[in-house]
Symmetry: C2
């Protein structure tokens, strides 16, 4: 309460400090990544095959070995609506935990959609726009990615159709309202618009839908329409690339205060949030700096910590390229008791490659810790975290407590990837005692891993 707690906790940058290049860690990997395979030909996916879904610049970025890639002026202009985002020291959270390690967080929740997702949505919409594509399709589960793409399309005067998993469409009406406010067309999936949707509705008219099926619907429509492309919110290399503005800004902020993180935590579902904050720091690790990065995932969907590094499909319907990644099997589904996002069976190929090569660590956390530390963070720092982001909070808090037991003091950093204002029902479920811890049984994971494609 004295002078100590009154020293500045928030480190702001100016708009001129927004990075004007993305960092591409593929340029610095000690060993090359395995290429994606076409599910139709069994060979490496070609540039032309990807053109059915993506504009050429994004395909180039997907395959690029360039270390730094210029961010276009128009993308910079739109990012600057909310960037640079603040780096904040969580002094009251440290005090409540009773730890001496310093805890910093990079806060991405001030974006239009409330998370890091618009960093790539703006870029993806822009590259489509300059190639004459004025319409995008995508899928969304809880609604974060659909919201981000809706905002991006509106700001670039494009149309957007979002296939939203039907159970979320019915249970999360405010995310739907948000997308509607930005003139997006939100379709509950399964729908009558696609073969994949119609097939499912024939088999089960009451289907609640799934993320895998929504991906299939969005991809099928984009493949079938010349005026329409598809956009994905995570997993792919170009998505991780666009998110590196997070880590690059954070490095400038630590430079300003003359500190440096010893260990970085970020939640990881498809991996773009983790890759976005971590890869610029991993460049320094590859240059010899002593720094650790930990991808944090749910114990009920433990892709890196319990999955296999193998070629697998990106979706249930087997329409996407087969990618080399950590996976729980493309037909894996986390149990209903699992709250929040991070439900993806796979993991970004880049993040998978980094983990396989020992450049990063991974850790899974239980729901009781996620919500307990998430609420403590809200109560002390005044920001309600998205349940996804609370995974990183929990892992950071557990580390700080371990540091205390070991009598050491570290500088810890986590990415607060988004706010939780649209996720209050998950907090209600926790406070009502309806969320239990659940560790996915290894034998069940082995079963879904039996279905990996032969490549």
């Amino acid at each position: 309460m004295g002078k100590n707690t009154r020293s500045s906790s928030k480190i702001f940058l100016n708009e001129k400090d927004i990075p004007n290049k993305w960092y591409n860690i593929m340029a610095d990997l000690p060993t090359p990544m395995d290429p994606p395979i076409s599910p139709f030909t069994g060979n490496s996916v070609t540039f032309d095959e990807m053109k059915a879904l993506f504009p050429p610049q994004l395909i180039e970025q997907e395959m690029s070995g360039e270390r730094w890639i210029d961010i276009p002026d128009k993308v910079m202009e739109l990012l600057s609506l909310w960037r640079p985002t603040p780096l904040i020291r969580a002094k009251r959270f440290e005090k409540a935990l009773g730890v001496k390690s310093k805890i910093y967080f990079k806060y991405e929740g001030t974006s239009p959609a409330g998370s890091h997702k618009p960093n790539t949505a703006i870029a993806q919409a822009y590259y489509n726009k300059i190639n004459g594509i004025n319409r995008l399709t995508t899928e969304t589960g809880a609604g974060q990615w659909g919201s981000a793409l809706s905002v991006a399309c509106k700001m670039l005067d494009m149309q957007c159709r979002v296939y939203m998993v039907k159970v979320s469409y019915n249970q999360k009406p405010y995310r739907k309202s948000f997308m509607r406010m930005f003139d997006a067309e939100v379709i509950p999936s399964p729908s009558e618009y696609t073969n994949a949707g119609r097939d499912m509705l024939k088999r089960n008219p009451n289907s609640n839908g799934s993320l895998g099926l929504a991906i299939s619907e969005a991809v099928e429509e984009a493949v079938g329409r010349k005026d329409t492309n598809y956009a994905l919110g995570s997993v792919l290399n170009h998505v991780v690339l666009h998110q590196t503005v997070i880590g690059l800004e954070t490095q400038k902020q630590f430079d300003l205060i003359g500190e440096y993180p010893d260990k970085i935590f970020a939640c990881s579902g498809g991996g773009s949030n983790f890759g976005g904050i971590a890869t610029p720091f991993l460049k320094e690790k590859l240059d010899g700096r002593d720094i650790e990065a930990v991808a944090v995932e749910p114990a009920s969907c433990p892709t890196l910590t319990k999955g296999e590094f193998a070629y697998d499909y990106g979706d249930v319907a087997k329409l996407t390229p087969i990618m080399k990644m950590y996976t729980l099997g493309h037909d894996f589904e986390p149990p209903a008791i699992h709250a929040g996002g991070l439900r993806y069976h796979g993991e970004s190929p880049i993040v998978s490659h980094l983990y396989k090569n020992g450049l990063i660590d991974a850790q899974n956390v239980h729901q009781s810790d996620i919500f307990r530390y998430g609420i403590l963070f809200a109560q002390t720092e005044g920001i309600v975290p998205a349940p996804e982001s609370a995974h990183a909070i929990a892992a950071t808090a557990l580390e700080a407590e371990k540091n205390r037991e070991e009598g050491i003091e570290k500088t810890l950093l986590f990415c607060l990837s988004g706010h939780g204002f649209f996720d209050m029902s998950a907090y209600d479920a926790y406070l009502d005692g309806k969320l239990e811890d659940y560790e996915y049984p290894e034998q069940e994971i082995k079963k879904s891993l039996d279905h990996l494609p032969k490549v």
Copy 2:
């Protein structure tokens, strides 16, 4: 899109620039304000009478003639969790409107509760705490103020009971979840806890409640319990005082860029948001500077523009002091078609006095403009405004368009008092065509004004 739009739009301050004194315009008023009257004695309310509800420091501030009042260190520490807030130039909104006047907004939505309300909630909780009061009661309608006081009490290790109007309690579950996350006790009003509540439930077991009744319940409980005080989120002088951090920061931000606003807009329900941004600028107006300030209210609850400057009760149950203010009559209720907040029948005595004396202007706006401009603002600037704040957006946009017609260019400022993430259902109602414009009929206002107390 060129260099012009890339120049910095966001003006940040450092934490050391958070004002360490509040500005009290009562010190500079050309004519004194009329005192509040006790509803029980018919005389001016005494210090001792107010002690049943408030700690001495707040009563002193309520009556103070000091120009500058120190902000305690602990309050500064907690305000610094989210302050200073940004001043932002809405360039894309200007462009979409096709106007040449510059539009700046001060954004208060980054606070823990998502609005300007915590600026005073923290201060009020603090003064109670240092007087040994560890429990506060209050009322909330839509939930903004209840959320703010819940956060403040949790951060100061106090208990908080919020009487929430029952219709909102049932219709806005996420605001309730938010307060619960900060360990507040949220009680649907009318309740069985108070005489006022029990009386209402006897008369009408299915009562939906009202803000007036919720105030009565919170006040009754605080009067009856020695360990409990009451906190109010607007109207009173000390609340307006605490909100002046908004205007004082904004002045520093304009100094930084060498500009100055010609005209300021802020929505006004109880008046603390308007008073908070406007009064520091009005000090300069009193010193001779050419500046206008406009309080913006709904056409369906037109307190300043259609009400009477008279002594009236602050609540329906006639428990609060009788205050000299613009009022529509204490039993006035805006029609059900009215969306969002700003439903209060009265107005802050300070703001009323300023208006009566010609120091500020007032304007009422229709729902169609509020939501139309609110959505355009979200689509261009990437921030979903609270419907209350969208009143100020609409008035500013209308002014900028008028400037264009008149061939003049002004620098306009509005206070974006909060985000609308908890208000998506109001936007849905607008997009569904369910909100109509409604001008409250003058003869109805005359009827409720017939019930003013004789003082």
